[in-house]
Symmetry: C2
Subunit: 178 residues, 2 copies
C-alpha cells in the first residue's frame, strides 16, 4: 500500500502562496534537487487537490501542470461529473476528505498519494490520514499569505527521514510519528 504524503513548496515562514494566491515569488529562487523531485513524482499514483480547482481544470490549470498522467481527486463543495482531459481523470469529491483519501489510495495501488493545499493537508493531519510530508523550503520570508500549517491547532511529532540541500532550497521529508 502506498503512502499519503503532504507535498508543498513553502517559504521559510510557512506560506504556500501570497494573500492573492500567487506563487510568482517561487520562481525567484531556483529549483529543488532534481533527483528528489523526479523520485517523488515517479512514486506518485494519485493526487488530492483543492476545491478551487474545479474551474481551473476547465481553464487548463491543473495539479503538477498536467505533467503527471495519474488520477486527480479534487475536493469541491458541489457535486460535479468527472472530467477526462489530456489522459487524466479528474474526480470531484464533495467535502468528505476521508472518502477522497480512500478512493485515491485505491487508485494509487502500491504508489503514493500526494495531498496538495493547506486545508486538505491540515484536515488529513487531524484525521491521522497522513504518513509523510515532503517540503521544499524556499529561502525567503513572505511576511503574509496562505499558510500550509497555520490553524492546525494540535501537536504532531515528526521524524526527518530525508534532508537534501544541494540547491538553495531545503528538500525535506518527514515521517509522521503515530
Amino acid at each position: 500500500m502506498g503512502k499519503v504524503i503532504i507535498h508543498a513548496t513553502i517559504t521559510l515562514d510557512g506560506f504556500m502562496a501570497d494573500t492573492k494566491g500567487s506563487i510568482d515569488w517561487m520562481f525567484d529562487f531556483g529549483d529543488s534537487d532534481e533527483k528528489v523531485i523526479n523520485t517523488f513524482m515517479q512514486e506518485l499514483g494519485a493526487v488530492i487537490g483543492g476545491a478551487n480547482k474545479t474551474q481551473t481544470v476547465e481553464e487548463g490549470e491543473i495539479p503538477y501542470g498536467g505533467m503527471l498522467k495519474i488520477p486527480m481527486y479534487l475536493m469541491t463543495h458541489e457535486a460535479h461529473e468527472p472530467i477526462e482531459k489530456d489522459g487524466i481523470t479528474y474526480t470531484f469529491i464533495v467535502n468528505d476528505i476521508a472518502q477522497a483519501v480512500g478512493e485515491a489510495k485505491a487508485a494509487a495501488g502500491d504508489k503514493n498519494v500526494a495531498l496538495l493545499g493547506g486545508s486538505i493537508s491540515r484536515q488529513c493531519l487531524k484525521l491521522g490520514l497522513v504518513d509523510e510530508i515532503q517540503l521544499h523550503v524556499v529561502p525567503m520570508l513572505l511576511g503574509e499569505g496562505i499558510s500550509l500549517f497555520g490553524g492546525l491547532g494540535e501537536r504532531i511529532d515528526l521524524e526527518r527521514i530525508e534532508a537534501v540541500t544541494t540547491t538553495g532550497i531545503n528538500d525535506l521529508r518527514y515521517r509522521i510519528v503515530k
Copy 2:
C-alpha cells in the same frame, strides 16, 4: 564590525514556544549539531532579549542560561537600572530597538549580536537591522503557539549560507539579501 543575527529554535510550523510560553517540547527531539552551536556561541559578543526578561533576570532565568558571559540588552517598557549578576551586565532599554542594536553592536565589537524572540526579530527585520538568521528547526508541528515570523507582513529575500543536518534538527543559517 560584527553581524546582527536572529537566533531561534522553532518547530517546523514556526513556533518558538507554546501558547503558554513553554518550550518543554523542545527537549523531546535531541540536540542541534554541537559544532554549529559552539561556533555560534563563540562568535557572540552581545545579546538582545525580550521585555519579559526583567523579572526573569532577578529570578535567575536568563538568556542562554547564563552560559555566555557577555553583555545582555533587555527590552522593557519601563526604565530599570542595569543589573550585574554572575559576571554578566544586563542593560535595560526602553522600547527603542534601534538604540539597543546600536549599543549591543558597540559592546560586541568584532563579534556578533544575537536577537532573541519574535517581536524583537520582526522589528529588526522591518528596520533593516538584521544581517543573518540562525535557526534550529525541530521535527514537530506544534499546531499553535508563539510564532517567530508571524505578523512580519513584508517580503524579505534570503540566501541560505549553511545547512547542517547531522542531527534530527535542521541547523540553518540564512543571510538577508539587501
